[in-house]
Amino acid sequence: MKLGKEIREYFPMYANSTDPAGLCYLDSAATSLKPRAVIDALRGYYEEYSTNVHRAAYPLAERATEEYENARGAIAAFIGASRAEEIVFTRNATEAFNLIAASYAGHFLREGEGILLSEMEHHANLIPWHTLARKKNLRLFFLPFDTETGELVWDADHFVRFLKERKIKLVSLTQVSNVLGTINPIAVIAEKAHEAGAAVAVDGAQAVAHVPVDVQKLGADFFAFSGHKMLGPTGIGVLYGKYEILGKMPPYQTGSDMIQEVYLDRSTFRAPPARYEAGTPHIAGAIGLGAAAKYLAGLGMDRVREHEKTLLSFSMEKLSAIPGVRILGTRDAEKRSGALAFMVDGVHPHDAGSFCADLGVLIRVGDHCARPLHQKLKIPASCRMSVGAYNDTDDLERLTEALRKMMSLFKG
């Protein structure tokens, strides 16, 4: 099976587009389009066996439990987890980070100890640490990035010492920048971090739908991502955690489903992942996300990566040929994935976004929830196009044409 145009028939948004020229969706870094397989899985749950999980007294509820747990298994397999119990369902990546902050860092880190982040983090992997650092008197450190290449700047030779001297106990980094597109060398960093006795959390939101992910090879203790950015439903996300670490952490939220014994005045908690899934979960969402993982696995993540790399090379070639367009980050497609941000000389990003939208070319403008990154680049906002498995060169031709038209009108 091919990718790009060839799979658009499986994404109903294309057939339903009111644009006579067809849907030109270049905003998958914000949220992806959903394939019919995912929509069918949601509908299947709601129309055929919409019952609660983990309380089966009849076959329909057994089916709901089975499908819910099968989804967990499919997601575990998709990211290379060693067992399904390492997958905790959350609302999104943001909630996954809040869970790590509350139940891991909030519990195990002591006053004066540090957390290492980077200057390119999405607010999801930034604000929870601000809050926790204030509450527990923790120190936050930031790996800088090179404003030209968009790559993290760190000293591999002295990294272990750097971490130990600052008492850094947690390193939390994004695998792929949602603005610069940089693929960070997580595996190398994680190895050094472990040597220094620090745990490693990874923001996989921009990675899971774009590059093959193996959490064990990455050396991630935690790996967080959202379902809706990987062809799945909104409102469902995942926190992967190494089982032995999950087993030591206290609950995040409490209530039903996560308890073992309950008395009027006390209770005990279940083993992971149930311990972290209080209340009736987003059953349909989890089942839909399982379908998304299976769909992506069916496309083949190696092939998705190759396809997107070709599209990124193509777009960098096209965009850099337009006078006044400046690409942020590396020009090496090998080192980047998904998102490609750019500036247009003399044209405000919001004007560029609206102009493109008038021509049916859907890109994102703003700070993309990475304000410190933009502050470092001394720009208020940027334009960002991003690709998914269903994009093709025709989308990029339309973007190029829109930007050329805009330049002739605005600069004419």
């Binding site: 405000h348 919001h350 004007d351 609206s354 008038d358 208020p380 009108l409 605005f410």
Partner: protein, 123 residues
């Protein structure tokens, strides 16, 4: 092409009312927290302080913000103060022409907020 008709582009490139005003009678400053656009709008009244003799603005922002600020300054020059106070956000949107998408309405209305602030500080 709806949002960016020729008049808008012209006003954005060559705004007629852009510039700093020394010792104005009224001054309003607004920032669009969403995108960082900022505007300062200045008013000068006539000798008897009855009508707006001159309106100017400075600031950095998108084409919609700049063009609508320019239109607003033009529209209120010559108005007696009460008329200027009655000049509503909807009237500015009408002046702008094609309705902007909901996300861009604040861009068009930033100058109007600055005007209200400038008028509020007059007396």
């Amino acid at each position: 092409m709806t949002l960016y008709r020729q008049e808008i582009i012209e006003r954005w490139r060559y705004p007629r009312h852009r510039g700093i005003m020394q010792s104005p009678d009224g001054q309003g400053e607004r920032v669009n927290a969403f995108c960082g656009d900022e505007i300062t709008l200045f008013l000068r009244l006539d000798g008897e302080k009855k009508f707006v003799r001159e309106a100017r603005f400075t600031g950095e922002g998108c084409a919609l913000m700049v063009a609508s600020a320019d239109m607003l300054c033009e529209a209120i020059e010559g108005k007696i103060i009460d008329e200027a106070r009655r000049f509503s956000a909807d009237e500015l949107l009408l002046l702008y022409g094609e309705p902007p998408t909901p996300g861009r309405i604040p861009c068009v209305l930033l100058a109007h907020e600055a005007l209200r602030q400038a008028l509020a500080g007059l007396f």
